[in-house]
Amino acid sequence: MATTTTKTETLVGKRIRRREDPRLITGTATYVDDIQLPGMNHACIVRSPHAAARIKGIDAKAALELPGVVAVFTGADTKDVGPVPCGASLPGLRVPHHYILAIDRVYFVGHPVAVVVASDRYIARDAADLIEVDYEPLPAVADPEKALAPGAPAVHPEWPDNIAFTYQQKGGDTDEAFKNAEVIVKERIVSQRLIPAAMEGRGVVADWKSGDKALTIWTSTQIPHLVRTLVALMLGVPEHHLRIIAPEVGGGFGSKLNVYAEEALMGFIAMRLAKPVKWIESRRENFTCTIHGRGHVDYLELAAKRDGTILGMKMKLIQDLGSYHQLLTPAIPTLSVLMMPGLYKFQNIHAEIVGVFTNCVPTDAYRGAGRPEATHVIERMVDILAAELKMDPAELRLLNFVDNESFPFATATGLTYDSGDYAAPLKKALDIVEYHHLREQQKEARAAGRLFGIGMSTYGEICAMGPSPATPAGGWESATVKIEPTGTVTVMTGVSPHGQGEETTFAQIAADELGVPIDDIVVQHGDTAIVQYGIGTFGSRATAVGGTALYFALQDLKKKIKLFGAMLLQSEDVTFADGVCTCNKSGKTVTLQQIAGASYRAMTLPTNTEPGMVATRFWEPPNFTFPFGAHIAVTEVDRETGDIEIKRYVAVDDCGNIINPLIVAGQIHGGVAQGLGQALFERAVYDDDGQLVSGEFMDYAVPRAHMMPWIETEHTITPSPVNPLGVKGVGEAGTIGASPAIVNSVVDALSPLGVRHIDMPMIPETIWNLIRKGAHA
């Protein structure tokens, strides 16, 4: 039964502890590897140790003889399974056929070549070692610029230039802008390859019920419905016979916004053997075979007047795509182009993307997906311009921001910024750090020979993906709200949270709208057999798009509640608030519980009204949202060692209205950690032969607790007009704001030595080399 007390306290905007946590803190949540099915087999995948090689033969005899081994499959067995799909389309895009197991050639270290199925995972692992693959190694290329050089090894022999696509975008007139420029600054800026490294790797369990011809796949994904549609096509299983379940998902950061070979492969094995099968990715597989992020080399030119007015920008973006297109691989750099102007009003841009094949694992969406790269570039260029003009970087930014009166603001890249007050977070951040005082402190520090830096970034991001025409798979989101006969509420959302806390925030929204206690609401997600079609969780969209779909479903229900309330109260004039329908004349009331009961009992029905109390809405957003903010990092560099100390980190973010400040803070902290990781520690390193030499946590430094500074968070609030909740999204903000703030700070610290740019990660040796060079300059 529903709790009978009604609730009057508004929950939206409150610091409410999460409803998903009890299972997480007691170890009772169910991730993919926690699923056990009777008779389940275990799969272990044999992967290429070469970045490029011809497969001359595969001998599985010894493996098959090992007791407990059930089957071995190779590319010959799976060649008819549809290719791993690329959802992005660009004019002239070259799309290599991406078999789920290699046929006769491998293209990157980790390329799946064969799969062993055994009765337990220990045997499967032993058997994998017994499979002999005869490789003929071929020359490989791992660096996108080297791949473009004449004579470079061809990743795909059919395209010897290694170019997957080129793409141009122009806005305004850059020729004119550069002609009128009084100052032009240029720089080459690298956004290095990163490894998303969600703490839970990927994992798939597949179960085939031959009697029903029904396949169920549990997979650690951010997009269960899209996986369903695409894996159904790959396997030739009718979509209605395929059920995808995203159980508890241990982080994604974009790496699980994808459809992977293993999802179809496990489905194939389960069907072939008519037994359930489980595959759990090892960390080394996660590093070599799950998508990487970033991987840009950008050549930039910024034109301005001496007074600091920015006139235009040119960018040549070389995108390291890796060997294949995963779901969105080629689309990611186009997002960088869209966000090229940042928060600034200049109207002339020219961008050229060259998408390059390399013998590496594909890149794709990683937290921010194209936007951290764009923000990093524009925010670095603005600082380089400020240095050139000897202007204060804050003043230069304030001068060039889009004016508050100009919203909605049309950018040179074709976007419409929804709302903003771009100066507000910067001013707030400057106040928090006492900027003028800080600059005085810096002068003193410099006089004493210390390397003291103040760096800022003012970022904008394109979020709440997004209007459907602008997305590869539809940009809407869905929600169903069911008020059960006893008055409790079930929300089913098409988004697929995996740490973002929508079981809590969506319950807050529903509780407020329906006026019921939050404990009477449950939020379900991630199971295609339960939840109506949805798009998923990525691109800071869950609350802004999925929450809005929920909001509209709730409005529909409220109308229906009032209809039933009016009927029960025998009044035309009723109000529904705080879970109670009140007759405005008599003051008589009926509770939501009574109304729900009446709607299902259906003894009488309001005119033209169906029984039951369920509403579903698919909401198509009219625009993206554009969160923004300002981050300031205060750093000091050890002149002798190059070590960087972050003395202060301030993040002022404007993500529109805030549903739950606790969760918003958590998103910012986590985002900053990933941006800081990129700025200071992380890089996926392939050697010249295409070996991933940062192949585990031993050599890839994910920030640990003691490597993080205290993050001071603050907000300004500019509601988005795009959705009725006024929310903009916050999942990626921290990541986008952090890397340029930190790099700008360290460049500022080293600027007395003539340093004007530093590529990431700024490991101490890099800094030390700059100090040495500076000292000799």
Binding site: S694, M698, D699
Partner: protein, 285 residues
């Protein structure tokens, strides 16, 4: 993640362990903090593990005849927190506290770490500075070698098949001595890019004794002899620290990895060497 198959023996006594090791195909398992991850990556595949973790008389920290005797299976956590070591050989406690993380320190052992001889492990710097001895138990009895002689090369010691590190012996430090373990941490693995261990004794404002051990820098840990000599009999001031620090990497063919080139490693050794000397001097009375 899954190791090869192997056989497992858990002797109750050292004698039993030595008996089990005598055929040469077995490998000693102590805390397993180095060995088990290697086995999980299938880089190590011993046929049999002889687990010495439960041998009661290998786990002790005791003072005897002016020296401190440390049983092979004493954990890093025990060393870090031993009141005896903290007062009488604080350099070793300080070093233990720098190893890995709390979980690794709970399981990892002194003997295991020393026998593994990872060139970037922490203890070698301190054990060299302390002029420690290693007592090795074998079928034909015990033998004692200096720690300097114990380490041969990267991952290589004088341990013969069938032998076990039984104990490490370190001197009781004079309470007036200064000490320091300074470590530059590889941010991903937690291993030492450079680790410098210092022991210094002052007499009448001059340095009467200086021992410097360096790990992480080269293919094996070494004594920084030139730096020691530069300190000896000199005055105990910051300039001395800087001058001696500058000598620490002299003639060293340094290692390299993703985080530090040989040149930078040598530089870090000099800078952190000077810093370690300064700290040790400030602690010396």
């Amino acid at each position: 993640m899954i190791t090869h198959n192997f056989d497992y023996k858990r002797p109750a006594t050292l004698q039993e362990a030595l008996g089990l090791l005598s055929d040469g195909s077995s490998k000693v398992l102590a805390g397993g903090m180095s060995l088990i991850p290697l086995m999980k990556l299938r880089l190590a595949a011993p046929e049999c593990l002889v687990d010495i973790g439960r041998i009661a008389d290998l786990n002790y920290i005791r003072e005897e005849n002016g020296a401190i005797h440390l049983g092979a299976t004493v954990t890093h956590y025990q060393l870090e927190n031993s009141p005896l070591l903290r007062s009488k050989c604080p350099l070793l406690s300080e070093t233990a506290a720098h190893i890995g993380d709390p979980m690794v320190r709970n399981r990892g052992t002194l003997g295991g770490s020393v026998a593994h001889a990872d060139p970037a492990s922490d203890y070698p710097a301190s054990l060299l500075a302390l002029e420690a001895d290693v007592v090795i138990a074998g079928a034909s009895g015990d033998r004692t070698v200096t720690f300097a002689d114990f380490i041969v090369e990267t991952f290589t010691t004088v341990l013969e098949p069938g032998e076990i590190v039984r104990e490490i012996v370190v001197p009781v430090e004079h309470s007036s001595a200064g000490y320091c373990y300074e470590k530059v941490v590889q941010p991903a693995s937690g291993f030492a890019i450079v680790g410098i261990a210092l022991r210094i004794r002052k007499e009448a404002g001059r340095i009467a004794e200086a021992h410097i051990g360096v790990t992480g820098l080269a293919s094996k840990a070494f004594r920084a002899v030139a730096a020691e000599q530069a300190l000896m009999n000199g005055s105990a001031d910051p300039a001395a620290a800087k001058n001696a620090g500058a000598l620490i990497a002299d003639g060293v063919d340094a290692n390299s990895d993703l985080y530090a080139s040989p040149e930078y490693r040598n530089h870090l050794a000099r800078i952190h060497g000077a810093r370690a000397i300064a700290i040790a001097l400030s602690r010396a009375q």
